[in-house]
Symmetry: C2
């Protein structure tokens, strides 16, 4: 993915990394949290994801980097006393981005903060409440990755100075992200509330994208989506039985991020740049193979067969 050597943003000058970026991994909110339980992390999935990410990023041994006490626990954090400071491990450059899942959406939908109107007390309170919720999730993700030995650094879009104009990204200065990567860290960004409107950045809790809600009987997994020059997209594989029936993509009432439609459009925009985009279910053999780069040359025939 050498195309990612240069990270540019709408209004900032292109910033160049000294070494090419290997991969951007988006962890879907639904994959790392229990989507139907308010502000609850899916610990099992998060641990598997963290382990898969460490295997994909770091070749060689590494030490745990979360030396903090758990809230409510009196246990002293474990710091490796015989830390091997000569330890040499080779690590690939990654960016991790995660969604909010059961964090943030409640506060955002309750206040309507994604619709704007910060001058209203309810919206202003909702903005503060949403940021508290999504930054607490970010801290937990950073801790899980650090515990695994990934040098993760939490970066909030709001703090990075990112903002939107009429819900489109207006300012997204990637300098801090690039500097963190160049210093050997793995930036961990997240869906955040930023000034003007909420801004969200793809891995859903299903095997991929279906032609209708995956819980519906007969829902078909889409294997290949083609992206046209204008950014619009259509399904190439499999051939849908009823081609006249549009792909139904639902947006949950509490989902303030636009649901899968927005996410596919964003994936399409990335694919247009010539960058491979894989949408896989987190914490599975599929995600592990995608992370290891095993899909780079060709997607095996058994891929996505369940």
């Amino acid at each position: 993915m050498d195309q990612l050597h240069e990270l540019s943003a709408t209004t900032s000058a292109a910033v160049t990394l000294t070494k090419p970026l290997h991969c951007i991994v988006k962890l879907g909110g639904a994959a790392i949290t229990c989507k139907n339980e308010l502000e609850t992390i899916n610990e099992e999935n998060l641990n598997i994801v963290s382990s898969q990410l460490r295997e994909a990023m770091i070749v060689g041994p590494c030490h745990g980097m979360d030396w903090s006490r758990r809230p409510g626990s009196s246990e002293i954090p474990t710091v490796v006393d015989d830390f091997d400071d000569q330890l040499e491990s080779d690590s690939k450059k990654f960016i991790v981005v995660h969604g909010a899942g059961s964090f943030g959406h409640f506060q955002a939908s309750k206040s309507g903060v994604h619709k704007g109107g910060l001058s209203r007390p309810l919206v202003k309170s909702g903005f503060v409440a949403t940021r508290i919720s999504v930054t607490s999730l970010n801290l937990e993700i950073v801790r899980a990755l650090a515990k695994e030995g990934i040098p993760s650094i939490g970066l909030s879009p709001f703090s990075c100075g990112w903002s939107t104009c009429e819900r489109n990204i207006a300012v997204a200065d990637t300098l801090t992200v690039v500097k963190a990567i160049d210093a050997g860290f793995v930036p961990v960004l997240h869906g955040d509330a930023v000034l003007d409107s909420s801004q969200n950045l793809i891995s859903p809790d299903v095997f991929g994208v279906y032609d209708r809600p995956p819980t519906e009987p007969g829902a078909t997994l889409l294997r290949e989506i083609a992206v046209r020059e204008d950014g619009s997209w259509s399904v190439l594989k499999p051939e849908l039985e009823d081609m006249s029936r549009p792909v139904e993509i639902t947006v949950a009432a509490h989902d303030t991020t636009g649901g899968m439609v927005t996410k596919i459009s964003e994936a399409a925009m990335i694919a247009k740049l010539g960058i491979d985009v894989y949408i896989v279910k987190a914490a599975t053999d599929h995600s592990a193979r995608a992370l290891q780069g095993l899909l780079k040359e060709n997607i095996p025939d058994d891929w996505l067969e369940q």
Copy 2:
């Protein structure tokens, strides 16, 4: 404090607030945490400080803005269902900065991250561990302020892109801070680890600055410190018995921020700009009176008498 209308930084253009900033409050790490208990917040002090800050900032009623679940608690957060969206309250522009106390210092001193050397695995791990610790404290401070009704927004110096060069601030773009204030929020910044070296920004857990460690018998509280043009400072009041004996300021072994010497020098730099600096014990009548602006005209004679 109209002098604070314009916030400038070393390398960024001066950014102007649409309304003048009323006050910058630095909460000492030792005042809001239990300094001798690893990663433990002084809940009582933090609650009093939050209440005093709300009284100083907001005139009129306000709603709680922390709608998140406590970790480990199954309790659903309270959102005001009968939220009065017409509520009009007048709020003053504030910035809150807090130290690390029993957060961060352990990780920083264990790894020597404040001495630099990010290429060493121990230092790199310590950088990640320090940021996890200080950002978790920041989140708790933001939550305490938000619960009180202060529209607090956590801003990490690292995420804001601030960096140092040989331990001096090299880049400190205040644009994000200014935008947050202009949008009606209260930025909550903190002592953070940033690229190049650790960077820390003043309210100790004592009544002020003493001529020797405050635990020593006969330690005298310094009432007035004069700042010379070159930034150096000396004690004006009280007249110290033995003028030849230098003021002893100790730095604890685990304190990676330079202790009170650095903090007084920083206060002196601010005072040189013509801005009043009050160093008061947090969560006391002293801090409340300083916050209310009651010391602006003259400091009463009973001030600092205990």
